[in-house]
Amino acid sequence: MVLWVLGLLCCVQAPWAWAGDEERKLEAVFIGRFASYIEWPAKPRDRFVITLLDDNPFGSLLDDLYRDKRIHNKPIELRYATRLEQVGETDALFITLTSSAARAAAIDYAQRNGILTISEAKGFAESGGIIQLDFIEQKARIKINHGAALKSGLRIGAPLLTIATVLRGDKP
């Protein structure tokens, strides 16, 4: 009886759980796909580096997904940093920092170093981040701060801008 109830609960909760997993997977996929639509200033690196700052919500998902893959014809290197000082040279920075001050510092660092910043934190794009990714009713919403991208020296491809909500300056 207990098992049946647990099973029922699992069934009831499964769509939510599935939705969360699915969103996370999509998010992981989207990080790489964003990169495909963005042009970086020429850098003498032979690897495309994606860094996660703070918590890793993907588990091993990113490693599984980007192992042996290439972005801009470069092999992908995944780094996991818990502090901004650990970020170093990177191409894309996925920020999961919860503190807005910490996020602002990370955004500032990224802008100075030509790094693409991605986050799902609310108000990320408005506060100078380049791509803010939201999932509303299991549908991805992309918000791009085009001014911030330009300030970072990045050029975002028109197809990506077409499907995104675009902020034309640092502020909406």
Binding site: R33, T162, I163
Partner: protein, 420 residues
């Protein structure tokens, strides 16, 4: 029924039918080739549209952005011929769909089923980046293209369009072709009416000439033609046939009117000619001289020298007769060794003069046989001269009178003439 139609109309019908058939075939080929090129062209346009949409759709598919995908597909509303457009993500779920207001609910399931069938048939092709599926039939056409991202298929774009534009162009062409064909046919028929005379005029002329010859019996007619083709041969053949008829007629006429041995007029012809001469003499009130003559002892010639010699004697006497008579006198062999000479305007003096010339001529003309034998023959002549009276009986009477005089000449010792 076709046999009853004149060759002129047969030619017109033949030319008309040939032209119609040629136009029909060329029109069918033109329309079919236009259908092929128009369907290819329509599909090409749909391919271009699909390529553009799929390119724009890539980002929406990459980020599973149904809203943007729907917005992009909604722009297809600008083209009223696009009936349906569907974007499926890589799992086959519809990410976005555009359905035209003009798409009938009755036709939609068929379109979808047809496209679905084609997708299943060509699943392999759709796994290639340059792969596509296309379909066209009378009602709609569709293009299916895979959308790739970083070398991997992330979705499928289906665009369905109606074929109204294509059919409108083809209808336009058919109408134009039909109008052109009718115009050409009318022109060709007009030309064929004119051109048929090139062929029929010589035939018609020949037919008219044949009818004319048949009606007038004028076999001396000669058809002239300046042509150099087969009609010339036909005309020459016809003229040769007429010449043959003329020759045969002449031969028959000769056989009917002349004596085969001597070449003189035969009895029947002599009586006909004499009748004419008598009528003229009567009309002019002029005398007609009649000389009946007979070779003396001709039976002895035959008995002694044989018939070939007898025939030779007859021929020699005939020559003397022809030489002694005037050009316009009638000389005839009535049968056996009996001859008739009719002198036009033959007074007694004239007739007796001719008779004497004959007698003297025959007497003075020794005849040599084939074996070298010499023969001397004489003739007895009965002469009669009078103005003829009306009727054929009078001719016979004149001949009879001359014949009686001949009899008297025979009785008087032969080799002489006696005037009746």
């Amino acid at each position: 029924m076709f046999d009853r139609i004149s060759i002129r109309y047969k030619l017109i019908v033949l030319l008309g039918l040939s032209a119609a058939l040629a136009l029909l075939i060329s029109s069918a080929i033109t329309i079919y080739s236009t259908y092929l090129s128009e369907s290819r062209s329509s599909l090409r346009v749909l391919h271009q549209l699909t390529d553009v949409i799929s390119e724009n759709m890539r980002a929406a598919l990459a980020f599973a952005d149904a809203g943007s995908a729907n917005t992009m597909l909604a722009s297809l509303r600008a083209d009223p011929h696009i009936l349906l457009a569907v974007v499926n993500d890589e799992s086959g779920r519809a990410l976005a769909e555009y359905r035209s207001a003009g798409l009938s609910t009755a036709a939609e399931p068929r379109f979808r089923a047809e496209v679905q069938g084609r997708i299943l048939e060509s699943a392999e092709a759709l796994r290639r980046e340059d792969g596509f599926v296309e379909h066209i039939d009378n009602d709609f056409m569709a293009v299916v293209r895979p959308v790739f991202f970083d070398g991997k298929p992330i979705g499928l774009l289906v665009v369905v369009s109606d074929t109204q534009l294509m059919w409108a162009k083809i209808r336009e062409l058919v109408l134009l072709q039909a109008a052109t064909s009718v115009l050409t046919l009318v022109l060709l028929l007009f030309l064929s009416v004119k051109l048929q005379s090139l062929f029929t005029r010589p035939i018609m002329n020949l037919v008219a000439a044949m009818q004319d010859v048949a009606r007038t019996k004028n076999y001396r007619a000669v058809l002239g033609s300046d042509r150099r083709d087969e009609f010339r041969n036909l005309y020459d053949g016809f003229n040769a046939m007429l010449a043959d008829i003329r020759e045969r007629d002449d031969q028959l006429s000769r056989l009917a009117t002349t004596d085969a041995l001597t070449g003189l007029a035969n009895r029947r012809n002599a009586l006909d000619v004499m009748q004419t001469m008598a009528a003229r003499a009567q009309r002019k009130d002029e005398p007609l001289g009649v000389i009946m003559l007979d070779i003396d002892s001709f039976k002895n010639v035959n008995d002694r020298f044989g018939h070939p010699m007898g025939d030779l004697v007859l021929q020699e006497v005939s020559l003397v007769l022809q030489a002694s008579a005037r050009d316009y006198d009638l000389v005839a062999r009535l049968g056996g060794e009996e001859f008739l000479v009719v002198c036009d305007c033959g007074t007694q003096e004239v007739t007796t003069a001719v008779a004497e010339r004959i007698r003297a001529g025959v007497e003075g003309r020794p005849i040599s046989g084939p074996a070298g034998e010499a023969l001397q023959v004489t003739v007895s002549l009965g002469v009669y001269s009078a103005v003829p009276r009306a009727g054929a009986e009078d001719i016979e009477e004149m001949i009879r009178a001359a014949d009686k005089a001949l009899y008297r000449a025979k009785e008087a010792g032969r080799n002489r003439y006696v005037v009746a």
